[in-house]
């Protein structure tokens, strides 16, 4: 069953701006799905329509088979949303914020209190439950929103840049938590600008650009389309003359740093053999950019080139 089905969804704002130009999207139940796109690509508009915060111009959206227009309350009860911006009452406590949300979903108070405790413990905020939310750090506020979105145990959880502005330690703990939630059967749709986050967490992906879906496939097959990996090599000694490497692109970044483009079919062994022949000793190497990031840039560039 599809957790989310979108068909020919369009949104034109009152100023004439066409944010969505007839997108189609399907997300399977239990999936961990990445919805990626640059700022202004249409991600937030799409999420706004899915979560009933934005009125669609035309098209259909179904959540677990329930149409968000005609079966709005049934569709909403399946959905949890962690929005991009902090959107809770900053003058309320973390506990009240989560507890009230449970109430809006019709959860009886006794059960709501239990679930609030469970969710706040899950995001490691139980100790801060009575702290006025405006006194919480940015990362804590994001975790309050995650707890709030999970309190009614939604079948579909949409996370709109949940780790933006969060330090790496908390980000990694949030990744683990998201993996656990997904493993327990919750379908997750994630938007993020950290593409390594999408690559490591998500199984399927859609890329949206200028209101259109330009890619919709599974992560593994998408990544195989990346023909060249770029690596940064740290050298033991400075290089004065750039060597010619047969079958590889090479660029000097500084005296002791090289950038090498490695075609998938050639691999790394031949590269290192040629570097050794040229008497260049590599002490470490790393990816220039995340693979998905490279692919994302390629896709957007290709689309722009086609259009121009």
């Amino acid at each position: 069953m599809n957790a989310l089905s979108i068909h020919n969804l369009r949104k034109t704002y009152s100023n004439g701006f066409e944010a969505l130009k007839g997108i189609d999207l399907e997300v399977k139940q239990g999936d961990f799905f990445a919805l990626l796109g640059a700022n202004g690509a249409g991600k937030s508009t799409a999420i706004g329509i899915i979560s009933s915060l934005v009125n669609a111009t035309s098209g259909t959206v179904k959540i677990f088979g329930y149409d968000v227009k005609t079966q709005r309350n049934l569709a909403k009860s399946c959905l949890g949303l962690v929005p991009q911006e902090i959107n809770f009452n900053q003058f309320d406590t973390a506990k009240n914020i989560v507890l009230n949300q449970a109430g809006y979903y019709g959860i009886p108070r006794k059960l709501a209190l239990q679930r609030t405790e469970t969710c706040l413990k899950q995001v490691d905020l139980w100790d801060k439950r009575d702290t006025m939310s405006r006194r919480l750090s940015g990362g804590m506020k994001r975790r309050v929103m995650i707890a709030r979105a999970m309190v009614h145990a939604p079948k579909l959880l949409i996370l709109d840049e949940p780790t933006a502005g969060v330090d790496i330690e908390i980000r990694r703990s949030m990744w683990e938590m998201m993996k656990d939630v997904n493993a327990q059967g919750t379908t997750i749709i994630l938007t993020t600008h950290y593409l390594e986050e999408a690559e490591s967490l998500c199984r399927n992906i859609a890329i949206i650009d200028s209101g259109q879906i330009i890619e919709h496939s599974d992560m593994a097959s998408l990544l195989t389309r990346l023909h060249v990996d770029y690596f940064i090599l740290d050298l033991a000694q400075p290089v004065t003359i750039l060597p010619t490497l047969n079958g590889y692109e090479i660029k000097q970044i500084s005296e002791k740093i090289l950038e090498v483009g490695v075609p998938k079919e050639r691999g790394l062994n031949d590269l290192f053999a040629q570097l050794s022949t040229a008497n260049i000793h590599v002490i470490s190497m790393k990816n220039k950019s995340n693979r998905l990031e490279q692919l994302f840039i390629n896709l957007i560039d290709n689309k722009n080139a086609r259009e121009s």
């Binding site: 009933s52 915060l53 009125n55 309350n73 911006e85 959107n87 009240n96 959860i107």
Partner: protein
């Protein structure tokens, strides 16, 4: 059942809000009305004498109570709902399966409760100045409930349409306060020149103040049944308008 829980949650949140900030919500009407009673009721009232056979103090008490109910039921909903909109936490309600009528009923109930609570506070303050012998308590309660419902609805609509904090102070400052003062709170319309008597009859607050005064001291400037009819009619009209705005998503959705 789930709808009732959602309603209960909104009302509980609203009560928690205005109780938490009681120095802003409950204390000012106590001080302001104490000054009204002292200055208008005692110092000036003693020189005015009686109106319709009652002392001036007794005459203005019902009007001041109802004026406080009007102001505070309106203020509660307009400030609470606009803040919810401003901080975007209205989205908490919009993503949840809460029908529009439950959102409206929840906020209006919060406004009614604050209006009634302020009415009680002002009534208690008035006891320091004059005994309050309510002639028809059921009618008095009905007028307070209907009036606070009406002005809570008006506050809700104001909050939906407001685009800035300035917009939520325009109606109270330039419409509500003048209409309240000109609604016979401090005088009987019989005391006005004939032309102003006719103009005053176009002020809906006059009917509510008169109905409440009638229920408390048995004196009224207008037909009581007309007062109830008008209030009920306005409530229906504003309810449908507020629900229509919510359905369209005016001011809360893009």
């Amino acid at each position: 059942m789930s709808v009732f829980i959602a309603f209960n949650t909104i009302v509980r949140k609203e009560i928690y809000r205005f109780i938490r900030i009681w120095p802003q919500t409950l204390l000012p009407p106590a001080i302001t009305t104490a000054l009204y009673f002292l200055i208008f009721g005692k110092l000036i009232g003693d020189r005015i004498g009686t109106i319709h056979g009652t002392s001036y103090m007794d005459y203005i008490v019902p009007g001041i109570i109802l004026m406080s109910v009007i102001t505070h039921s309106y203020a509660n909903v307009v400030s609470s709902f606009y803040s919810t909109k401003f901080q975007h936490n209205i989205e908490e309600l919009l993503v949840a399966p809460v029908p529009n009528w439950v959102i409206l009923a929840g906020y209006i109930s919060g406004g009614i409760l604050r209006g009634v609570l302020v009415g009680v506070v002002v009534a208690v303050i008035s006891l320091f100045f004059t005994p309050l012998n309510v002639q028809n308590p059921a009618m008095a309660m009905a007028v307070v409930l209907l009036t606070s419902t009406l002005f809570s609805l008006a506050g809700f609509i104001n909050a939906i349409l407001a685009e800035s904090f300035d917009d939520i102070s325009i109606i109270p400052n330039f419409v509500l306060t003048p209409l309240s003062y000109l609604g016979g709170v401090f005088y009987s319309v019989d005391m006005l020149p004939l032309i102003w008597q006719h103009i005053s009859l176009g002020n809906p607050i006059l009917y509510m103040v008169s109905a409440f005064r009638f229920s408390v001291i048995g004196v009224s400037d207008v037909d009581i049944s007309l007062a109830f009819l008008m209030t009920g009619g306005f409530i229906l009209l504003l309810t449908f308008f507020a629900l229509w705005l919510l359905q369209r998503g005016t001011g809360i959705k893009t």
